[in-house]
Assembly symmetry: C2
Homo-oligomer: 208 residues x 2
Amino acid sequence: MVQTETSRAGRQKLVKKAEVILEGAMQEFLAHGYAATSMDRIAAAAGVSKATVYSHFQDKEGLFTTLIQRLAQERYRTIFDPQHPQSLQGEPRIVLRRLATEILDNSIEDQQFHDFMRIIVGESGRFPQLARIYVQNLAKPVIEILGQYLASHSELKLPDPEAAVRVFIGTLVYCVIFQELLHGKKILPMERERLIETLIHLIVPENL
Amino acid sequence: MVQTETSRAGRQKLVKKAEVILEGAMQEFLAHGYAATSMDRIAAAAGVSKATVYSHFQDKEGLFTTLIQRLAQERYRTIFDPQHPQSLQGEPRIVLRRLATEILDNSIEDQQFHDFMRIIVGESGRFPQLARIYVQNLAKPVIEILGQYLASHSELKLPDPEAAVRVFIGTLVYCVIFQELLHGKKILPMERERLIETLIHLIVPENL
DNA sequence: GTCTATACATCGATAGAC
DNA sequence: GTCTATCGATGTATAGAC
C-alpha cells in the first residue's frame, strides 16, 4: 500500500513537473512573447531551477513549440470547434446565430486566448509550423464543417457556400482581432449582436 | 555656389542619417520582431555606429515606435485608404468589386506589409499605442467612408450599413491574415475572386 | 557629430555536487 | 532528478577620443 502510494506519488511528481514547467512557460510566453521571455523567468515562474527545465525540454524553442501545440490542440480547440456537433442541426437562421454567438462569447472575454492569437500571428513568420497548427486544428475543422452545412442547405441558394463560410468566419475573427487584440472597441465600437444579425440577414433569405 | 552646395550637402546628410537609421531599423524590426532585434544589428544594417543610433533616437523603444508610426502614417495609408476618393462613385456592384480588388491586390503580394501586420498584432499587447495608430489611421478611414457609402445607397436595403462594413472589411482582412500571414493558402486555398463575388452577391440585391 | 571601446546586466545552456 | 554555480555570448546604453 505504502509502496503503491510512493510509486504513484513519484510518477505523479514526474508528470506534474513537466506540467508545472509548461504552466510557467505559458504564463511567461503569453505575457511577453517568445524572444522577450527568458528561461530564467520560466524557471522562476514554475518554481524550479533552470537546469530542471532543460532536463525536461531540449531548448527554448522546443519548450515554446511544445507549449503552443498543446494550447492549440487541447485547450483552444473548444473555442472554434463546436463542441456539440448537434449544434449544427436545425434551420440556418438558428444554427448560424448559435454558432456565431458561441464563437464570439468564447473568444471576446478570454484574455489568455487573445495573447495566444497575438503570438500565433506575431510569430507566424518565424514559426510557420505553429501557424500551420492553428490553421489545421482550429480553423480547418470549423470551416469544413460549416461549409458542408451551408452546402447541404440548398434553400439558402448560395452560389459558393465555401466562400460564404470565409465571409462568416472572417467577419467574426476579424471582429475579435480588431475590437479586442487591437483595442479597436474604444475607438470604433460595434456590438456583437449587430454583427450577428447582419451576418444572418446577408446569408439567410428573408422568407426563411 | 560651393558654399551653398556644402550647406545643402550638410543638411541633406543630417536628414539622411536619421533616414538611413530608420531604414535599417525597418529591415531588422520587420524581419525579427521587436524583442529579437538588437541595436547592434540595426546599426550594422544602417551602416553607422551604435552610438550614432542613440544620438538620433532616445532608446530602442523610441526608435521602434517612431518607425512603426511612420510606416502606418506614410507608407501603408495607401493600402486601405482608397487613394482615389472618386473610386467610391458609381453603382454598388462596381464600386464594391473595385474596392475589394484594390485592397486584396495591394495587401496579398506585399511581404513587407505582412511583416508590418505581424508586428502590429503581435505587439498590440505591449505596444497598444501602435495598434491604436493602425486603427486610427488605416482602419477607421475606410470603415467610415465605406459606411457612409453603404448608408447613402438605400436601394441596398441594408438594415445596418455600419455592421455590413465590418462584414466586408473583416472578410477581406481575415483573408489576408489567414491565407498569407498564417500560410493558410497551402492548406485551405480560396481564390480571391470567389470571395469578392460572394461578398457582392451577399450585399448587393440581384436586381441591382 | 561620429566613432571605438567599454560598462554592466542578462541571455541560453551546461558542469558538477548531492 | 534537481539543485547551485558558472561559462561564453550577447543585450542596452554610455563615456571619451577625435
